[in-house]
């Protein structure tokens, strides 16, 4: 294991920014710490770095307990959200800083700088100062500077937060390639679930200082550990039908709910891709009007309005849409292939997103 956290808690005053968190990062892994702002993910990253000390629990790096080691002794590379480049130093001197501090030989420093400039596509910018660089260049300098002293782990705080959307996509792909080439254990913080799903090997999801789930992008998407994860990762339709005779009903929709008590309201969720839409009105059980189509690229998002006024979202490919001859205003039929029980009234419907640890069972297929 490259990094291990065991029962780590961090209190700021009375507030637990991080609450009893345990997880580990494997050697060479690219790990995302994901969650809404205030979820405690940056605090976790700073505790791994040694910029914050845990109130309780232990942090290990390569099997060594590092609680009592200072930032300087942990041999980590840290990239700050706004890069924190040294304003009074040019690119070369920024990258050389850590090497000079560690008393590398001058010839070795020069060789290392040249190697990094080449690897990061920064040749020709050696003498520029941070304010003379673009956002993307600044980020690359910051990562080059962090990697220069050959750290055991690379930690990045919201690495794509400070650049505009167009460059962000480029940088994501670049980070994946870089990680593949260097194979340094890397942990990055993000609040963007798409970013985490796309870039990371595994994702740790936090909310309110609590660890909600650890898993591969596929695992957290397909098997969310709880309602929070289910709703945070990817889009989801959420409905609150009432149970009567083993069937939960809302508007026209019916969901088999065997074993659920009569008169109880439950919360169920289903992904837009689980909604199958057809222009053939006889094909599926439910009918709705296609109210609006949003073009997202290859995929389209469809908003369906049922006669009862209920609105649900579906997703389909551009080809399928064209093939079926769909357009806004058309009547369609649809079915919901898969859905999940997110919460029962008995265990508290009200405080959304605060349910934990109960794995929502898949209730049914093809209704």
């Amino acid at each position: 294991m490259s990094i291990e956290l065991k029962g780590v808690t961090k209190l700021f005053g009375d507030h637990a920014a991080v609450n009893n968190v345990t997880f580990s990062v494997k050697e060479g892994e690219l790990m995302a710490l994901l969650g809404p702002s205030g979820g405690g993910k940056t605090t976790v990253l700073r505790m791994i770095a040694g910029l914050e000390m845990p109130t309780a629990g232990d942090v290990f790096i390569r099997g060594q307990r590092v609680n009592d080691l200072s930032v300087q002794q942990r041999n980590i590379g840290f990239v700050f959200q706004n890069y924190a480049l040294f304003k009074n130093m040019n690119v070369s001197r920024n990258i050389a800083f850590g090497l000079k501090i560690k008393r590398w030989k001058r010839a070795n420093i020069r060789a290392r700088i040249e190697e990094l400039l080449k690897l990061f596509g920064l040749e020709g910018l050696e003498r520029r100062f941070p304010h003379q660089l673009s956002g993307g260049q600044r980020q690359r300098v910051a990562i080059a500077r962090a990697l220069a002293p050959q750290p055991t782990v690379l930690l990045l705080d919201e690495p794509f937060g400070a650049v505009d959307a167009r460059i962000r996509q480029e940088l994501r792909e670049w980070l994946v390639t870089l990680h593949h080439d260097l194979n340094v254990t890397t942990v990055f913080v993000t609040h963007d679930q798409e970013e985490a799903l796309e870039v990371a090997n595994r994702i740790v999801i936090f909310s309110g200082g609590v660890l909600e789930q650890v898993g591969t992008p596929r695992e957290v998407y397909d098997q969310p550990a709880n309602e929070f994860v289910a709703r945070f990762i990817g889009a989801m339709n959420v409905l609150e039908p009432e149970v009567r005779g083993g069937v939960a009903r809302i508007g026209e929709l019916e969901f088999p709910a065997p074993g659920e008590a009569d008169g109880q309201r439950i919360r169920i969720g289903f992904r837009p891709y689980a909604v199958q839409v057809s222009s053939d009105l006889t094909q599926h059980r439910y009918h709705a009007m296609l109210q609006h189509t949003f073009f997202l690229g290859v995929l389209l998002r469809l908003e369906l309005e049922l006669p009862s006024g209920l609105t649900i979202r579906a997703r389909m490919t551009k080809e399928d849409y064209a093939h079926q001859g769909l357009e806004d205003g058309r009547q369609v039929s649809f079915q919901i292939r898969q859905y999940r029980l997110l919460a029962r009234e008995a265990i508290g419907l009200q405080p959304e997103a605060e349910l934990q640890s109960e794995t929502p069972p898949v209730l049914g297929d093809n209704i």
Binding site: A49, L51, V71, Q72, I76, G77, F78, F80, Q81, N82, A84, L85, F86, K87, N88, N90, F97, G98, I101, K102, G124, R127, R128, F129, Q132, R145, A146, P149
Partner: protein, 301 residues
Amino acid sequence: MAEPGTRIRGGAQQASQRGTEESPLAKWVLIAITLAFCFVFLLLPLLNVFAQALTKGLGHYWQSLAEPDSRAAIWLTLVVAAICVPLNMLFGLAAAWAIAKFEFRCKSLLITLIDLPFSVSPVVAGLMFVVLFGLQGFFGNRLAAHGVKIIFAVPGMVLATVFITFPFVARELIPVMQANGTEQEEAALTLGANGWQTFWHVTLPSVKWGLIYGIILCNARAMGEFGAVSVVSGHIAGLTETMPLRVQVLYEGATAASTAAAFAVASLLALLALFTLGVKCLLEWKQARAERLIVARVERS
């Protein structure tokens, strides 16, 4: 067809310019008022000081500066400034660091305290030290018993000047350090630097200009302070007179020769002020030139 269109657009643009900019008349009137004000209140009195200083000729000018009591006053002024400015620099850095980089209770109280010397009359400041260290004062007796003399001696003057110039460096540095935040320092720590290396290579260079400006202001005030220093000095010619005090004593001499001598010392004080301003301008020019050179070099490559 295209021509009328462009003309209309041009006309619209002109109208919008007139809407946002002042008329030329207002511009010149404002410039004239500012220049006239600067001339009457700044330049004219300054020129007058030099003119008065030279009424008795250059020979008398040098003589009045070379006179033992005046020489002692010049020396003492430099000594007081040489003690106060470094103390202020250390204090200013420490205070600005504490306020900008750490969170603690009563922070706003501390900031208000730092500003205190600005709001207290210098004469009151001088009296505070007399009350504390004078013979009838709080520590006075005990200090006198050990043969330590603070009031009516150089230590008292240094104390009063330190009090008066206390806020200058801190006031300049706090906003600069707050704007810089702590990320650069943390970055240095993650790269293995210790506290001293971080301060020397990262913090100090990033606040360099604020620090220099604070020191210049502090120095100007330390040399020019009259009120507080006057109260604690006792006006012992040749021993506890700084230049501003010397100017007053000479001026009150009321002979033509002593008045000219007063202006001679005053002109030297003014020259010191102009010199510090000159140093500031030179530093700013050098900084701007260094940046231009870098940009030019980058563009060439």
